[in-house]
Symmetry: C2
Subunit: 83 residues, 2 copies
């Protein structure tokens, strides 16, 4: 089952990469604010059903994909169409 | 208007970060494959309407946020509810 994980810096946590991107975008003439940069992880996980897949991906986030102290994560599952 | 940009390595393009994450997840006991790592950029853009916002964010992607040779991007706009 395909899953997509969005990992973002938590509100209030300094995001130097976002600040650099915001500054560059302004130099290019764009009127932007609140730029934050995080990671997107796409993966294929072997799972019995959507509940199992979500539980596994949550464990992956806690153990490796996200740093819970400073990052939050969001999991999206791509459900296969019923034949 | 809030926008979210997902920037991903194009299919066929080598993704060393994805390979490293996949290897680490397997060492942790997860059965995963096709792991790809990209970036998520959240930002607030000043725009007249959704069309204008999308056009601006597309220009940001072409000029700074994505490398069109090796990355693809996807734009999501968070439309404000009509009062």
């Amino acid at each position: 089952m395909k899953a997509t994980v969005l990992v973002r810096p938590k509100p209030g946590i300094l995001d130097p990469q976002g600040q650099a991107v915001e500054s560059s975008l302004r130099h290019l003439g764009f009127t932007v604010s609140e730029v934050r940069v995080g990671r997107v992880v796409d993966l294929e996980v072997e799972a019995d059903d959507a509940g199992d897949a979500r539980a596994q991906v949550e464990r992956m986030c806690e153990q490796l994909l996200a740093n819970a102290l400073i990052e939050s994560y969001e999991i999206e599952l791509e459900l296969e169409p019923v034949a």
